[in-house]
Symmetry: C2
Subunit: 359 residues, 2 copies
Amino acid sequence: MSLEGRFDAETGVVRVGNDARQRYHDSRGYGYPLEGNEIALAPVEAAHLLYRGDLDAVVDDATGDRLDFQAFASREPGTDFGVRFLVYADLRERGFYLSPAAEPWVDDPPGGAVDFAVFPRGKGPGDGEIGYALRIIGERTDVPASSLADGVLAVVDEESEITYFEVTGSEPTGNTATSLPSGVDATLLADRVVLWEPPIDLYEDAFYGQPLEGREYERPTLQCSLLEAAYLARRDVIDLEFGAVRERGREVEGERFDRRLRVYTELREREIVPKTGYKFGADFRTYAEVESVAELGHSELLVRVHPAEAVFEPRDLALDVRLAHGVRKTMVFALVERGDGATPAETDIEWWSIERLTP
Amino acid sequence: MSLEGRFDAETGVVRVGNDARQRYHDSRGYGYPLEGNEIALAPVEAAHLLYRGDLDAVVDDATGDRLDFQAFASREPGTDFGVRFLVYADLRERGFYLSPAAEPWVDDPPGGAVDFAVFPRGKGPGDGEIGYALRIIGERTDVPASSLADGVLAVVDEESEITYFEVTGSEPTGNTATSLPSGVDATLLADRVVLWEPPIDLYEDAFYGQPLEGREYERPTLQCSLLEAAYLARRDVIDLEFGAVRERGREVEGERFDRRLRVYTELREREIVPKTGYKFGADFRTYAEVESVAELGHSELLVRVHPAEAVFEPRDLALDVRLAHGVRKTMVFALVERGDGATPAETDIEWWSIERLTP
């Protein structure tokens, strides 16, 4: 007997009777039960059953048309149905159960812009345990920084390949204790600062700056970034005026300087060593624990600093995360609230780690 | 006998006598000869000799001050002297001769915004052969797309690490001959197009689209990007109207769509296969020669499409080039002149390959 569904435009679900409840809901986690024998399917679920040949057709209640997969999938061409279907199908193909993140498919669904609740491998909708919240976008959809949330973001590119990103709110921590000298002679140049004869521990233990080639003496000539110098000036380690260094920083990179200084300061306060991330296209590469530069391990994080109101393109997420993965580091976005930039304030940075996920 | 130079503010050079000509010019390629026994050094060259201890001091003619390296380097703190010195010193350290790209240091210097002429390893200023034109910037200096030129770009990051990029104007070529069907049934969705039953060669030989999982039949369900579909529509391969597909493309990504379509079309016309570069953060990954998808090699280029008036941040260059290198591909920037977007025009795309260089 052929199994057909009926699309009810008023409720937006596809209703299926006969033995659909046992075949598709109870044993395979599609839809939710209705009175009697019927189940209700979300359009994506119905489309998947059509695609697999488990449903022969969906009848449009309003028009009486019998829709096959092609016709049903083409019904609402202006929506994101396509990308949602592709991800749904991909995760089903990988052996996961997943349900629309709404009642009555799941009790207590995750909040926010979540499309599906994905269940841990081996678990289904009835087991009461959600693996993660899944959000689906096309590669051309902007992602406001304010919309980042714990869970998985699936990006469907223009050729229907899917990239999964695991997004986790996480505070970085470190364990680099440093003692700082004071009154070091320094010169402010156009876009960097030279420290003429600091104690070598400033570099070798605390990892500030970079010695000029050939001058790694007991008191080396140390070149620092404007950021490092601003931080050191504020602590009277060098004999430059903090305001002058900050002003130069703002001349060079505008308001980005204040944001980066806020994050640099926060990282140092957390006993993390931030160094420039330029070669990786990031703001910082960070070392959680530096005992000495001679025994330096690899940096663990790449940090990108963004204003809290930033909007990301999925393409840039792909690029940042892929590069980080390629050099065995984790990408972290530091979102900075607008502030006066003068003093660090603990509550105004949000930290998000973003990693590739193979579900 | 201590060797000193004299800084002449009027000409901007440092003059050195005694045996400087033989020691520093003839045998080590610094400066250019003056009348009598003297040579003239650019400030960067003089600073390097001070740095190495080959000069004891530079006397400022105007003030009579005797300047050591620290004082001489700090003389003009608002200029790019710092970054120029760092790169000069680095290349010297690596064993290269290099001279300011101006007469009388070199005859017939390279045009444009070039800082130094770097000589091939083993050659010097007197051998009459320039290896490449070198331009030096700090990582915060914007790079207008219009300023790209054959040569090397050295970027000095905020901690004085130097990254060298080799920039080459280069036209991509390919050898993928394809024959296209016509009148294929297709549906335009929100951000992609589905071809319902095209001949499988359209994918397997010509590498258009991506088959939907589980539907790789003799006549597969093929999903195409809006770009691919626009190109195919214009050639009557599919039964959608070109204007409608282009309009959808513009809704999704604005004027970027027309630029990407121009480049996509140009690549296809050159018998190159462009596929989406999303996972690499690029516009396209390209295959020069595709015989069949079954025997597909690796794509060779990552192409980024930019408007001709774009301005790059060195950080983005670092990211793009590093990622390309990490996946063994070459980064190419395609600069597109503003146009009506209706027809491809051969003269309106400039192609620049950008690669990491270890001098």
